[in-house]
Structure formats: C-alpha cells, structure tokens
Amino acid sequence: MANAPAPVTVQPAGPFAAFWNAFSQNRGAVGGLIILLTIIVLAIFADWIAPYSAIEQFRGMTKLPPAWTDGGDKHFWLGTDALGRDMLSRLIYGARISLFIGLSVMSVSVVIGIALGLVAAFMGGVIDSVLMRIMDLIMSIPSLVLAILVVSILGPSLTNTIVAVSVVYLPNYVRLVRGSALAEFGKDYIIAAKVAGVGPIRLMFVTVLPNCLAPLIVQAALGVSNAILEAAALGFLGLGAQPPTPEWGAMLADAREFIRSNPWIVTLPGLAILVSVVSINLFGDGLRDALDPKLRRS
C-alpha cells in the first residue's frame, strides 16, 4: 500500500499512516479490532475487573441462572456453574488463558518457522528436501489428530497444548517464509548485498527477512485465532487445560451434562470462544487487505 500513488495528499503518508488509511476503511476489521482490544484489556486486568476469583466456590449458589432471569442473583451477573463458581469471573480469566495460548503458539511457531524456513531457502539441497518432507508429513496428519498424538505422548496440560498446537501450525510458517525468501533471491538487491560482502546470517535476517514480513504478519494474526480454536477443542476433549483452570473449552466439557437443565452454562463459554475468534479473524482479514492487496485470496 505504501507505494500506491496518493494524489490528494501533498506529502506522501508514512507507512503506518498509509496502512491505517487502508485498514480503517474496512468496517468489519475495525469492529474486530475494537472487540479484540476489549478482550485484551479484560485479560490483562482480570484481577481487577473480575468480581470474584475464577475458582472460588460459593456454597448453596450452584447453577444460578444469569441475574436478569427468574431465580438469578444480582451478585452473580452471568450466573454460576455446577460448583457455584461465578461464570463472569471464569469467562474473564478464561480470556487470559485463551489469549495466552494463542499468542504463545503464534510466537513459538513464527520464531521456529522463520528459522527453519530461512535455513531451507538458503541451504537448499538435501536439508531443504528433508525439511520440506517433514513439513509435508505434519500437514498430512489432520490437525486435531496430530495434536491428540502429541498430547497423548506428553500428557494433557496447558503447556503441552501449546506445544501440540505449535507443531500443528509450524509448517504454514516454514513454507511461507521459505517461499517468500526464494522469491526474493533472484532480485537485484540481494545480489548487490552479496557483492558488497554481506555474511549469510546478516543476509538472512537483515536483508531478506524484512521483505517477507507482510504475508507473515497476516498468517500470524490468523494463526492466533486458529490456535485458540484448536486449544479449545483439545480442552473440550479433556486433553488440554485441566480443572479447575477456567479454560473455555474445558468449561464446555464440564457443562455438557447440563444441556437440558442449565443451558447458559453451555452457551456462555462457547459464545466467548466464537466472539474472540471472529474478532481476530475480522482483524486479520483487514490486516491482509491493508498490508498487501495482492494477498487477497477469498
């Protein structure tokens, strides 16, 4: 977007201003960003915002409906779960866990993905082939099945969920970085840098990498939402975060038996997952369109 002609402004806009101009025209993306920021604030300041602790059990207050319905209690705004824990507090603390998982998975797979992708592109030959075959293999196993395999070896926990989901999404980044790096190789500025005597490490990270960043940022943003979904699915299957951790997927699993009697215990955690994933996806779509119109896929 930065090199697009801007006839109205006299001074060319800086890269960030140009990005924001394009981004803010997409109403869905801005909406997504606002919701996402709200969720981030809730997650960071959960200790102050949440009315109660996520694991405190109130005796005699179990399975209360939301405050505005019959039988609700004004102290428990969204009601309580089967153990008398405040739903609202659990959902707020859950945001912290889900965002933490999403961001950790994204950072781990982006960092390793950049390293492996650049190595594959620069080394070529046998190393490239072996790396790419391994990535093919990872991609050929259905994501959830692979995550299940990893978790069943390592045992179910929050950390292992992050490891498992990172493995699942690693190939996307490796392939993306390798592909964009290879596309840059033939260009004049790389040859110029080589002629000037730039070493391989500097060539990798300082010369080539910045030019592959736009698609990587988009992939990373959408990767966060995928990771949240995948981790919630593992939590739901009982293979992710363990009780009493207020992870949204695990909360849903606990709530399954109350479908008939207490529908809100089932409805709320899922709604929280949906809203956060939708907001990140809308934001990611906007990011894609604003950063590089060529990337528009669907």
Binding site: G28, S140, I141, P142, A232, F236, L252, P263, T267, G270
Partner: protein, 336 residues
Amino acid sequence: MIKFILRRLLLTIPTFIALMFVTFIAIRLVPGDPVEVRTGEHGISPERLAYFRHELGLDQPVWKQFLDYVWHLLHGDFGVSLSSNEKVLTEFLTLFPATLELSFAGILFAVLLGIPAGVFAAVKRGSWFDHTLMGAAVAGFSMPIFWWGLLLIMLVSEGWHLTPVAGRIDMIKFYFEPTTGFMLIDSLLSDQKGAFLSALHHLVLPMIVLGTVPLAVIARMTRSSMLEVLSEDYVRTARAKGLSEFRVISLHALRNALIPVVTVVGLQVGGLLAGAVLTETIFSWPGVGKWLIDSIGRRDYPALQGGILLISSLVIIINLLVDLLYGAINPRIRHG
C-alpha cells in the same frame, strides 16, 4: 502425464516412511515401561517382563524393531487393540464407514448450499444478501464446532424434539446386520419400515455441524471466484450475444469459477476428518474419530498408533488423488 504421476507417487514414499517412523517413535515416548504400556499390566514379575520383552521384540536392536514394525504394517498387521483384543485394522474398517457416511453428508451439505449461496452473493454484489452471507461465513469458519453441536442439540433435539441426540439409528426399534456399513443404504436394504427415516433423522444434526466450516469456506471461495470470472471478456461476450442472464451465469461463468472451488473442496478432506473427531464425540457417532478419543481414555496405545497411521495414510492418499486429478484437469500444474 505418466512422468507427472510417477514423480508425484515417488514423492509420497518418503512421507509414508516418515509417518511410520513417527508412529513407531511416538509409542516409545509414552511415559512408563513399554511392556506395561503395551500389555496393560502393572507391577509385572521379572520373568513375565523378560517373556514379554522377547515376545514383543523389545530385546532386539531399535533399527530391527523398526524394520519389523514396517514389515508387519506392509502385511496389513496394525497390531491388536488392548481393550477389545481385536485386530486394529479390523476394528478400524468396521467403524470407518460411519465416519465416511458422516463426512460425505457433511461435504455434500456444504457444497449444495455453499456454491449456490456464493454464486448468488457474487451476482448480487453489495446487496443485503451478500453482506449477510459474508458475515455468516466469517462466523461459520470461526465456529467452535463442538459448541455449535451442543447448541443445536439444545435447540433442535431438547427444545423442539425434532431430532435424536445421539447414535446413527433407533437401536430399540430397528436391528439389522450391516451389509455396506452405510446406515442410509443398509436401512433401505433391510426393508424395515421407517428405518431409513430414522437413520436420516440421526444424520441431520451431525451433518450440519461437520458441514458448517466447509460451507463457510466454499461460499466465500465461490463468491470471490465468481466475482473474478464475471468481469472476464468471455462473460461480456456471452451477454453481448444476447444470452439470458441464467445461461451466462450458470453455463459460461460458473463452469470456470468452479476450478478453484474444486481445489478448496479437496483441501477440506483433512479438516473434515479432524472435524469428524469432534462431531462424533458430541453425537456419540460410532466412527473412527470417537474410537480414537476413546482409545486415549482407555490408554489403548496400539489402537491409537494404528488409528493415527491409518487416518493419516488415508489423507495422504486422498491428497495424492486430488493432486493427480488437478494435473489431469490443469496442465499448468502438471509441468509446474
């Protein structure tokens, strides 16, 4: 073309070897003594331990164990399930038709709704239908399908009593020996009145749940692909010839717009199997996905190992077929 097929086949072999290696290693990384893990016995006596170590080939060098493992796999021996004492392959093949039926139904639902919806949105670009559909599509592929399933059970099954909650057919009223393993076909063959309807009733909700994410992806893809095609010269030519709008869209535009859509449908296969794991768990659908999850709960590692190997091989083979199909349709891929 033959060269392309051969090259593509050769590329698959290392992937298969790596897959066998990963599943071979995986079971070794499971915490605990391998004999205890495999036999499911705890506090085993030293004599029995030595006996089992020999029996399971664990006293051999690792490379020989791996070759043995591959040898067995190539002969269709995927091990024996600890919980049922049945061959893993037999168990898998008994349950697989249920997963296949569900997946077929899911993708059919997604294609039959997604393509017309996408075409209509593209033709009526900017209309309220277009906006609603694209909004719904974002929600669709962001959907945690395990929650979506519970929500539908809550509304449709518990609230309105329209569909059953679990299973493939009403087991109390109908019983027949499976012939094809596909409940819809078997129920028709059984000649029992109402059996087919019962099977159909059981299929509706799981089909919608599994089909939701592909539906969103297909609708979005069809729309953008149609938008691209509609601005092509040959579409303008067709209009200029005075063809009816219906002919222009359904014959000239749609046929060309469908190529990327077919690609997307092919790419959904892996995701469909992952979705089947969740869908089957929610609806107690007796397929391989639920079996896999149950195997984890029972610590039935041979079943888990064999199941993952079989499911992944299947995805590799389907991806290979899809690739070959594109090569046949589109020469540019063949030589790329």
